[in-house]
């Protein structure tokens, strides 16, 4: 039996197609994937992503724990700043990719993928030998994301905080539109200006309705997980479970930029340092179909008739109107411009290694 977010009945009433995802019935689309995708690129969309996990890590040992479990350097954070990070395991794979928010002194929040909440919690708990305080607030927290070039104008209607002063990956905690102890963050997963609004469940319905009301004049529409996936793929962002998992290395995935091996030891840092020194054998690349066809997760990647890898994510890019995807290939075939074939229904379809993001922002 799937769980439901606080907004389930709103999605149902809007005629959303709901699918089971990470234990929740989630809206995959309300009207059309393309329309919702383009709304986020051109105006704004609102996502219910309340299925995501949120852990509070606090106390004098909070930073020490976060530094131990995450690959990025959380000591660089200042209160009100967030960072993308990942949690390596001891085999050089990835437990999860996460965002770390520094809310205020000795108080952090980790946002985890919905499908990994339990695994992440246990992983962090097992690493918590220093005695940081951990609270799982996933069940009591709703998360709305307003994303698109009009997002700031819409969210600004509900607050006196000057949102134009917030760069990307900032956050503040305050009463927001009547919702006490909300966290407003400029983190997101679409490549567009995004405000992620973390609120207690009891405020979710009113927040959604108020945002929809003030957003109407800006073209705000509800947007589902379908559009969210094509939006993130156009940006080349990782989807845990597809592009990265317990077996893939952050270095192979192109996440070297959040793998700070010089920050001091952390979970998996030894093996990642070794990988870096020895060089990695495969790399995640962006793939664009040259003519017609759509790569899909699980399709084989071939080079000169030989299978060399597998597509991990793929879709039609609504903006480019082309098939795009990502997949791991041997490092020697990862250079931009390399011609590869994607096996679509047993036929090789020509694709080219391209840089990510796939679109120009």
């Amino acid at each position: 039996m799937s769980k439901q977010t606080e907004l389930y009945h709103i999605h149902s009433a809007l005629g959303a197609q709901l699918i089971p995802f990470a234990g929740y019935d989630m809206p995959v689309r309300y009207s059309s994937d393309k329309k919702e995708h383009m709304a986020v690129r051109e105006a704004a969309g609102i996502f219910d992503v309340s299925h995501m996990g949120e852990f509070i890590i606090r106390g004098p040992k909070a930073l020490e724990l976060i530094q131990k479990v995450s690959s990025n350097d959380a000591s660089k954070l200042v209160p009100g700043k967030a960072q993308y990070s990942c949690m390596p395991n001891h085999q050089g794979g990835i437990v999860d990719d996460i965002i770390v928010y520094y809310i205020r002194d000795d108080q952090y929040m980790i946002v985890a993928n919905a499908s990994n909440i339990e695994k992440d919690w246990n992983w962090i708990k097992d690493s918590n030998t220093m005695g940081a305080e951990m609270i799982d607030v996933s069940e009591e927290t709703s998360l709305l994301a307003v994303s698109g070039p009009k997002a700031e104008a819409i969210v600004q209607k509900l607050t006196n905080h000057d949102l134009s002063e917030m760069g990307t990956y900032f956050c503040f905690k305050d009463t927001f539109n009547g919702a006490e102890k909300s966290l407003i963050a400029t983190t997101g997963y679409t490549g567009e200006r995004t405000f992620e609004i973390f609120i207690y469940n009891k405020y979710a319905e009113k927040m959604w309705n108020d945002l929809m009301e003030v957003g109407e004049e800006f073209g705000l529409i509800p947007t589902g997980l379908g559009a969210r996936d094509t939006l993130r793929l156009e940006m080349g962002y990782m989807l845990y479970g597809n592009d990265i998992n317990d077996e893939t290395s952050p270095l192979e995935a192109g996440l070297g930029w959040i793998t700070k091996l010089n920050k001091g030891p952390f979970n998996g840092s030894d093996i990642l340092a070794k990988q870096k020194a020895e060089g990695i054998n495969k790399k995640l690349v962006g793939l664009e179909i040259v003519e017609r066809g759509i790569p899909r997760s699980g399709y084989e990647i071939a080079h000169e008739g030989k299978v060399v890898g597998t597509v991990t994510s793929g879709s039609m890019s609504p903006l480019l109107n082309k098939g795009i995807g990502m997949g791991y290939v041997p490092s020697e075939l990862s250079a931009i411009g390399t011609e590869l074939d994607i096996m679509i229904r047993n036929k090789p379809v020509r694709a080219e290694v391209v840089k990510r993001p796939f679109i120009t922002k």
């Binding site: 994937d33 393309k34 759509i294």
Partner: protein, 128 residues
């Protein structure tokens, strides 16, 4: 959800309209709504003689791809050429301009395994 009464259906969500020795085939309103925006239809079986339940092509939506199955056996005699430029017709008019193929036979069609509109409606209810 619209399921015309004059059609027969498959459990795989194709519809078929039989007119003598010619059958017109498409996918149902339910199928197109589940697939989402259709971005192209790939059918390379024109002229082939296929059995019922054989794959005659595939339909690619933004998010997913689905095989298309012959509702009845026969020869794929015509493909809807308009879908080359306007695949979205399958979304907007699944029973009309969004038809996919025509099948011909000289032996008469075997419709025993096809579903009536009532049976298909029940089938969809069970799935959603």
């Amino acid at each position: 959800m619209n399921f015309p009464e004059n059609l027969l259906y498959t459990e795989d969500h194709e519809w078929v309209k039989i007119d003598g020795n010619t059958a017109t085939v498409g996918i149902t309103d339910f199928a197109q709504s589940q697939l989402g925006d259709i971005v192209y239809v790939e059918i390379e079986t024109e002229g082939d003689e296929l059995d019922a339940a054989e794959v005659f092509g595939s339909v690619e939506a933004v998010k997913t791809v689905a095989d298309l199955y012959m509702p009845v056996g026969g020869t794929v005699s015509e493909i809807n050429g308009e879908l080359e430029d306007e695949p979205e017709l399958v979304n907007t008019d699944p029973y009309g301009k969004g038809w996919l193929i025509k099948i011909t036979t000289e032996d008469g069609f075997d419709t025993d395994d096809l579903l009536s509109v009532e049976a298909y409606t029940e089938h969809v209810k069970a799935q959603s």
